[in-house]
């Protein structure tokens, strides 16, 4: 990589994000005309192996720094790492979006906190999870081969709460169908991008 290439990245913001947020961050960039924001993703499937996430993030940060990025935002919550992701981010001097997971920052931290107790038996969907219901849930959980396991995974849940980033009737229909297949009640909340948008715009403003 040439010196001019690394210099060119110095004034840009790189968002190292979960693959679950890629489309949404691109939409925020487009909407805000944040032309100096770049995005790179870590596979969403690491949510099934959260112990691997801190290492993957550290490698991505170091690669980005080698490419000349001075301002980096981690497009993650804690995401089941039990503080291990934050330890890496602190050591690398990188900030992340506040909150435990995307379900919290899509709703906004205050709204999430207010509803947390009532949502104990709610299983959250997002646009990404509705679009990828089969590849992200049905197949990895073995429900295509063993639908009898639905009760093992979802037996204590009472409803699907679809946190919708976009107002899309097709996704609404697919989410409702998935909820019915799982035997759960269904609720849709149109959240938009929630705190994610403010976090990206804020970091973009600092770069």
């Amino acid at each position: 990589m040439s010196e001019s290439e690394t210099d060119g990245n110095a004034g840009r913001l790189l968002v190292i994000a979960c693959g679950m947020l890629a489309r949404e961050i691109l939409a925020i960039r487009r909407r805000g005309q944040l032309h100096h924001v770049d995005i790179t993703c870590i596979p969403a499937q690491l949510h099934f192996e959260p112990e691997k996430l801190p290492g993957a993030m550290q490698r991505a940060i170091r690669k980005a720094k080698a490419r000349g990025y001075k301002t980096i935002l981690a497009g993650y919550g804690d995401c089941g790492t039990g503080g291990r992701l934050d330890a890496v981010l602190t050591a690398e001097g990188v900030q992340r979006i506040s909150g435990p997971h995307c379900f919290a920052f899509y709703q906004g931290m205050d709204a999430f906190a207010a509803r947390e107790a009532d949502d104990v038996t709610s299983f959250y969907f997002t646009d990404f999870l509705v679009r990828n219901f089969r590849t992200f849930f049905v197949e990895p959980l073995g429900l295509d081969r063993h639908p009898e396991l639905i009760d093992d995974y979802f037996g204590h849940y009472e409803r699907i709460v679809y946190l919708a980033q976009t107002d899309d009737p097709e996704l609404d229909h697919r989410a409702r169908t998935a909820a019915a297949w799982l035997g759960l009640a269904y609720e849709r909340r149109l959240t938009g991008y929630g705190d994610l948008e403010a976090a990206v715009r804020g970091a973009a403003g600092r770069s």
Binding site: P50, G82, L141, G142, H156
Partner: protein
């Protein structure tokens, strides 16, 4: 009938036990129930069926899960098959007075309804000879304290899957300290977002990354507890 179909009742004891390990690995519930009944009919003690056929089979499943060869769906199928075998053995074990290593109270913390890991731990602990009292999911501190007192347990096991709920373990342990009963119990914690450091920070006696580790940790800490009592 296919030529290669295995008739469980025609197998020798050794071959049947080996076949049951395979059937557990493949999550074949009906076959495990049948194998369990055959061994009992041949005069095996319920304890031997449990330990040699079921627990040993699940131990192999656990190793392959840890090594990334098996995944959660397969382990769940295996666990459900073992559960079916244990349902047959449990009343018989109670009658025959199988050895008991201790009593464990186990439950998922308040705000958390996930129980796959907890159930696996409970089952393997029972298989290893512990009496297990499962208080289920979403347990507030009061429920843990009441159950500990009522059950006279040796071990408290707490589980959490969520980053947002795992700090509740400290609430429970702090309440035990306040009541002056913390040292009466071995406290084990587990769940995907936890680690050793967290376990120490909340004041638990041990972090168990999986069911096999939970069994080994419980055995070791119970042994130490007995040694301390004997020296006292």
């Amino acid at each position: 009938m296919a030529d290669d179909e295995i008739i469980l009742s025609e197998l020798s004891d050794d071959d049947l036990v080996a076949q049951m390990h395979n059937d557990l690995y493949d999550g074949l519930k009906d076959e495990i129930e049948e194998g369990t009944r055959i061994l009992l009919a041949r005069g095996w003690t319920p304890y031997d069926v449990l330990t040699k056929a079921l627990v040993e089979g699940m131990r192999i499943v656990g190793i392959d899960f840890r090594d990334g060869i098996l995944f959660v769906p397969e382990v769940l199928l295996s666990a459900n098959a073992m559960k079916a075998g244990m349902a047959i053995l449990r009343p018989l074990l109670a009658q025959t007075g199988a050895p008991k290593l201790g009593k464990m109270l186990i439950g998922t913390v308040k705000g958390d309804i996930h129980d796959i890991g907890k159930n696996l731990v409970g089952m393997m602990m029972e298989g290893a000879g512990f009496e297990v009292i499962d208080i289920g999911i979403n347990n507030p501190v009061e429920k843990y304290l009441e159950a500990l007192e009522a059950e006279k347990a040796d071990i408290l096991g707490m589980s959490a899957l969520l980053t947002t709920t795992m700090p509740y373990m400290k609430v429970v342990i702090d309440a035990m300290k306040e009541k002056g009963i913390r040292d009466d119990y071995i406290v084990l914690v587990g769940g995907a977002p936890l680690n050793e450091e967290f376990s120490k920070a909340v004041g638990a006696d041990g972090y168990c990354r999986d069911a096999a580790v939970a069994v080994e940790t419980a055995r070791e800490l119970m042994r130490r507890k007995h040694n301390q009592l004997n020296q006292a």
